[in-house]
C-alpha cells in the first residue's frame, strides 16, 4: 500500500529527501497538466511546476498534516503562481494550443507525423481520424483558454484534475456555492464555444 502524502511529508520534515522525491513523482503529471491547461503553454507549465515543488520543499516544516489535503495545498500554490504568471504577461491567458501535444510530450517538435507514429494502436489506424481528434482537442483547449480566469480555474480543477467541489473551494478560497455556480457557468460557456463540434458529434 503506497504511503499517504501526509506520511511522506512527515518524513520530509525529519530530513528524508527521498520522501519528497516520491511526492514529486506522484504529483508531477497532474500538476503539469493543471498548469498547462491553465496557461496553455507547456514550457511555462514545467517551469511553474518546478517552482511549485521548490516552494513546497522550502515550506516543508510549515506543512501541517490533516489541516488540509496535500493536493489542495499543492494546487493552491500552483494556482497562485499561475495567476502571477498571467499578470506578468500583461494579458489574460496567452495560449499556445499548438504547443500542447495531445498524446505525449517529449520536449521537442510535436508535429502530426510524430503524433501518428506514436499514437496508441487502439485509438485508430486512420491518420484522418487522428487528425480529426487532434483538431477537436485543440478546439477544446482553445475554448478553455478563452474562458475568463475565474471560470477557467475551477473548471480545470473539476473536470481535468478531478477535485471535489469542497477541495476546489479550499484551493480557490471561495464559498462552496460560488464554486459550484462558477463551474456550471464555465461548462455552459464551453458548450457555447464548442457548439460547432458538438452538433456534429
Amino acid at each position: 500500500m503506497p504511503e499517504l502524502d501526509d506520511e511522506l511529508m512527515k518524513r520530509c520534515q525529519q530530513g528524508d529527501t527521498d520522501a519528497f522525491n516520491i511526492i514529486v513523482r506522484r504529483h508531477r503529471t497532474p500538476l503539469v497538466n493543471f498548469i498547462t491547461q491553465f496557461l496553455g503553454d507547456i514550457d511555462s507549465a514545467e517551469d511553474l511546476a518546478q517552482e511549485t515543488f521548490v516552494r513546497m520543499f522550502r515550506a516543508t516544516n510549515r506543512y501541517k498534516a490533516g489541516a488540509a489535503k496535500f493536493s489542495t495545498w499543492m494546487y493552491h500554490i500552483a494556482s497562485n503562481l499561475c495567476k502571477n504568471e498571467l499578470r506578468n504577461r500583461g494579458r489574460r491567458g496567452r495560449f499556445f494550443v499548438d504547443s500542447i501535444t495531445p498524446t505525449k510530450y517529449d520536449g521537442e517538435n510535436s508535429g502530426d507525423e510524430d503524433l501518428i507514429a506514436t499514437a496508441p494502436a487502439h485509438v485508430s489506424f486512420q491518420p484522418e481520424a487522428q487528425l480529426e481528434q487532434k483538431e477537436i482537442h485543440n478546439a477544446v483547449q482553445s475554448a478553455i483558454a478563452e474562458l475568463p480566469e475565474r471560470y477557467r480555474l475551477p473548471l480545470i480543477l473539476r473536470d481535468l484534475q478531478g477535485l471535489s467541489y469542497e477541495e476546489i473551494s479550499n484551493v480557490l478560497d471561495l464559498p462552496l456555492g460560488t464554486t459550484k455556480s462558477r463551474i456550471n457557468r464555465a461548462r455552459l460557456m464551453l458548450k457555447d464555444r464548442l457548439r460547432y463540434f458538438l452538433e456534429s458529434l
Binding site: 529527501t17 519528497f20 522525491n21 514529486v24 508531477r28 503529471t29 503539469v32 497538466n33 498547462t36 491547461q37 507547456i42 514545467e46 511546476a49 518546478q50 515543488f53 521548490v54 520543499f57 522550502r58 500542447i100 501535444t101 495531445p102 498524446t103 505525449k104 510530450y105 517529449d106 520536449g107 477537436i136 482537442h137 477544446v140 483547449q141 478553455i144 473548471l155 473536470d159 481535468l160 459550484k180 455556480s181 463551474i183 456550471n184 461548462r187 455552459l188 464551453l190 458548450k191 464548442l194 457548439r195 463540434f197 458538438l198 452538433e199 458529434l201
Partner: protein, 213 residues
C-alpha cells in the same frame, strides 16, 4: 422553472446532486422544453470532451532541473547552518563571558525586583490573604511554647503571634482562611520590629519576612 433557471442546474443533473424538489421541477420543465433537452445533451457532450483530453507527460528535463534545484536548496541550508556555527566559533571567549555576565545581571535584577516588594505594604494599605499566607513559613516564632507545637499546626499559625496570647493566635489561625484582607499599614508605622506583636483584632496583624523577633 424557466429555461434560464434550468440551465443553472445542468451540472447538478449530470452529477446527480439534486435535491428532491429541484429535480421534480427540472424534470417537469425538461419534459416540456425541447430546447433545454437539446442544450443538456450538448452540455453533457462538452463535459465528456473535456474529460477525454489526454494527459500530458512532463519531460525528463523537469526532473533533472528540479533535482538540481532541490540539491542546491539543501546545500544552501547546510552551508547557512555551518556559517552560523563558524561565526559563533570565531568569537573570542570574552564575548561569551560578557554575554553570560549580562544574562546573570538580568536574572539577578529580576530576582531582586520580585523580592524587593516582599513585606512591603501596598499604597492602599491592604495586603491579600494569599500573600500573607505565603510569608508565614519564613517567619520566626516567638516563644518556646510556639516551638513545642506540632509542625502542622505551626504552619497554620499567623506570623505575628503574641507571646502571651498563643491560644488566641491559634484561634485566629484557624479562622485565617476566612479573612479576605488585612490592613497592616498602621502597625508597621507605629511599632518596631523587635517588639512583640499583639493581635488586638482580627483586622490587625503583621507579617515579618525575615529575621527573628
Amino acid at each position: 422553472m424557466n429555461c434560464l433557471k434550468a440551465e443553472e442546474h445542468f451540472s447538478e443533473y449530470l452529477e446527480d446532486a439534486f435535491d428532491y424538489q429541484t429535480i421534480k421541477a427540472f424534470d417537469i420543465h425538461l419534459a416540456d422544453c425541447e430546447t433545454c433537452r437539446h442544450e443538456l445533451t450538448l452540455f453533457q457532450k462538452s463535459v465528456d470532451l473535456l474529460r477525454q483530453l489526454p494527459q500530458i507527460e512532463p519531460s525528463s528535463d523537469l526532473d533533472v532541473a528540479l533535482q538540481a534545484r532541490l540539491a542546491n536548496i539543501q546545500v544552501e541550508t547546510i552551508s547557512l547552518r555551518r556559517r552560523i556555527l563558524e561565526a559563533i566559533r570565531a568569537q573570542p571567549i570574552w564575548t561569551f563571558g560578557g554575554l553570560a555576565t549580562v544574562m546573570l545581571v538580568v536574572v539577578a535584577g529580576i530576582f531582586l525586583y520580585q523580592n524587593a516588594f516582599v513585606g512591603k505594604v501596598p499604597q492602599d494599605g491592604r495586603v491579600a490573604v494569599n500573600d500573607l499566607a505565603g510569608k508565614q513559613q519564613n517567619a520566626t516564632p516567638l516563644s518556646p511554647r510556639y516551638f513545642a507545637q506540632p509542625a502542622s499546626r505551626i504552619e497554620k499559625m499567623p506570623v505575628a503571634v503574641p507571646r502571651l496570647n498563643i491560644e488566641r493566635a491559634f484561634e485566629y489561625s484557624f479562622n485565617f482562611p476566612a479573612l479576605e484582607e488585612l490592613d497592616v499599614r498602621e502597625k508597621l508605622q507605629s511599632r518596631r520590629m523587635e517588639q512583640h506583636y499583639i493581635l488586638q483584632t482580627v483586622n490587625y496583624t503583621d507579617v515579618p519576612t525575615s529575621g527573628g523577633l
